[in-house]
Subunit: 438 residues, 2 copies
């Protein structure tokens, strides 16, 4: 009996161990996937570790250690809180931290001196008053939207440094020394963080934004290019269809506003790099992004008809099929070209041909609606549904045109390169220009 | 000549001063508006100032000052970085900071002791190795989505504390003292921040989320209740119409995902308060929010027809007018009731009557489409447009039903109160129950 209990315990323990091991393996696989999905994450982790080790070693250099003493820990602290994934975020935090430390340290020293003038009794009261007033004002300033977007961290550090310096002790010389040490060590930490972030495989948030805007156009294009086939597909069994996953990609565009705004704010901190100049038109990216999102809303409405339960019979669908497929795929092609040229940072008007084609198809579709759709003997509800699909397609043309316009404006503001349009071979044998930029 | 120049300078200076003064006045008005829009901002600023003054005064108490020395500055630092607008965010940061400081300090002391065992020469190398490995691992962990959502700040502080403690000096006793001081002062700072945030006019992020979800429903309801009048309004001059601003409110719902996710994450840190228990079903709020956003996408599509350039003639519109107005206003009423009952935290099924009415109207509208719309002699494009409007209204009914379902599930999960349905007077003279909760 006892031995069987013992055995049971063994089995239990083994089961527990197996489950634990399973979880560990799962966790490991998840980590591996995180790294494989974006290898820059691994690089970033190593970069942070490097910067931190560099700064930590400051403690072991005797001259610096004796000079700054424990204040050198501010340098470690600075590296940890300033080092972000992208160059823009790191520089933004670094500058915010350095500038507001300098200003707040100066003000703090001033406040401390002012307080000491009032004698030993008045000093704590005055300091408390200064801290209270400064903290209330600076905290309130953090609610100003323009401040929040770019200087939120600076205001936080201002608050911090002012309190630390003005409160930090009784004797003036000590306060000045503390303020000075804090400023120097924070500058050392910020510069280390920014340098490592900038010089070892930098991640430019501006490039991220640029790519995200192009990718979002691509996602819409994928949907539009697939829509025609999917919607008018003759389902063999007449049952619900499995949509290909490429048609779902646009969903992330619907909620992309927040991340685009953040990226544009951070990109403004970045110095010129590659073909991105210092005053790159980030605001125009946001405009293109907003129009892309508008288009995604229409696509969301269109997507409903793919999954709608009340499926229109094929013969009603087939009335609008021809021009609808053309509109959707030509708009898709236009967006795809816009995305491609944006990625290559070149100007091109080749999308105009696609938009023109889709407009021709729209006229055709309108004629079809006038001539046959409403006169079709089928169920009016089905006719109306096809009408709604057509109506959305018209709107998508308008949206695509607006996106193209905004993208062209961006191309000229950001000085994208002009390329000669691809000349089709055959006109004269020699002219076989293919765009080779990038 | 010279005097006229002098005069010009005066005029210039006066102009400059006027402009500067104008800017200052504008800035002041902007601050005033910020405070009036949400008076809790002013209260928050004063709360931060109070907590900071309290902690700063620790420096002036001789026993504490002598006990902790300069380490007391960690308490100031903690208050500044931990104190957030809402209770959830403050507690989240406070707990993250305290727990990871304790764990990292212990590990840091261990690492330091391990390194000292290897003798004077090996020590810096081993410490550098420990710091590098620890920083790389912890930084990488910050990319795990589940970690990022709730423990991002804790991982940052872990990194910080481990480095500070393990690097901080040569002698073991000093390291232990530093770790201990850091833990104690950070606990003092966190507790001060949390206490002031919690006990003086607390802002519960859970309540914010609750209200935002209800407000978003209200915004959709406002649009739907106004849509009928606006769309079918006979414009006197036939020109573009100025839309009332209440119809634009729903736009903010389109991009509300990010803020809702953040709020739900922070709300989980909050202790039970009022009728919000500790394990309030925050995830269900996100589901209701997502469905509300789905409905907002349909409304965005509907809104297009309000501003569309190709206006359908009144006689075509009037075909679908009757049932369309009913659908839109009944769905609006249903959403408004859902919002009201959610705000009052009561269960109610009174919205069902409105949804039923809108469904009846939908049947009527379908009949109208079948019988007259498609047989109308007007331009088929206009007929199709009205069909598209009708089709969107059908979808909005489905959406409203889904929202109602999710809201009811939320009401039962969150133990909202049951109320007796309002009995109409007249049935018997005495029963004039009006819901009086709240």
């Amino acid at each position: 009996m006892a031995s069987s209990n013992n055995e049971q315990d063994h089995v239990k323990a083994a089961g527990l161990f197996d489950r634990l091991w399973g979880k560990i393996v799962k966790f490991g696989l998840m980590l591996k996937k995180l790294g494989q999905d974006d290898p820059r994450r691994v690089v970033h982790s190593l970069k942070v570790a490097l910067a931190l080790t560099l700064v930590s070693m400051l403690f072991y250099f005797e001259p610096l250690y004796e000079g700054f003493g424990l204040a050198a820990m501010w340098a470690i602290l600075t590296v940890v809180v300033v080092f972000e994934f992208s160059v823009g975020a790191t520089i933004g935090r670094g500058l915010n931290r350095m500038l507001s430390t300098v200003v707040a340290a100066a003000l703090g020293i001033g406040a401390h001196r002012l307080a000491t003038l009032s004698g030993n009794e008045g000093e704590p009261i005055l300091i408390a008053l200064f801290v209270f007033v400064e903290a209330a004002i600076v905290t309130f300033f953090r609610f100003i939207p323009q401040m929040k977007a770019r200087y939120d961290y600076g205001l936080l550090i201002f608050n911090l440094t002012f309190c630390l310096v003005s409160v930090s002790g009784y004797r003036d010389e000590e306060v000045i020394r503390l303020g000075f040490e804090r400023v120097i060590t924070i500058i050392i930490g910020s510069i280390t963080a920014v340098a490592v972030c900038l010089f070892i495989r930098p991640v430019w948030i501006g490039v991220e934004l640029h790519n995200q805007i192009a990718n979002n156009m691509d996602k819409l294009a994928n949907f539009l290019q697939g829509f025609g086939d999917e919607y008018f597909k003759v389902s063999e069994d007449g049952h619900s269809r499995d949509k290909p996953s490429c048609l779902e990609g646009y969903k992330s565009v619907l909620t992309s506003k927040g991340s685009e705004d953040t990226m544009a704010n951070l990109a403004r901190w970045e110095p010129g790099h590659g073909r991105f100049r210092f005053r790159h038109p980030w605001k125009q990216y946001l405009k293109v992004g907003a129009l892309t999102r508008q288009c995604a809303f229409k696509i969301e409405a269109l997507n409903n008809y793919l999954t709608s339960e009340t499926q229109t019979p094929q013969e009603v669908k087939s009335i609008i099929q021809g021009p609808s497929v053309v509109i959707s795929s030509e708009c898709g092609k236009a967006l795809k070209e816009l995305a491609t040229f944006m990625r290559k940072m070149t100007k091109s008007s080749s999308n105009e041909a696609h938009i023109a084609k889709s407009k021709d198809a729209a006229e055709e579709l309108k004629a079809v609606i006038r001539s046959s759709l409403c006169k079709h003997p089928g169920d009016s509800l089905h006719i109306i549904q096809e009408g709604a699909v057509a109506s959305l397609l018209f709107e998508i043309i308008t949206c695509t045109e607006k996106i193209a316009e905004a993208a062209h404006k961006l191309a000229s503001q950001a000085h994208f390169k002009d390329v000669k349009p691809r000349v089709t071979p055959g006109q004269d044998g020699s002219s076989h220009h293919v765009i080779t930029i990038e």
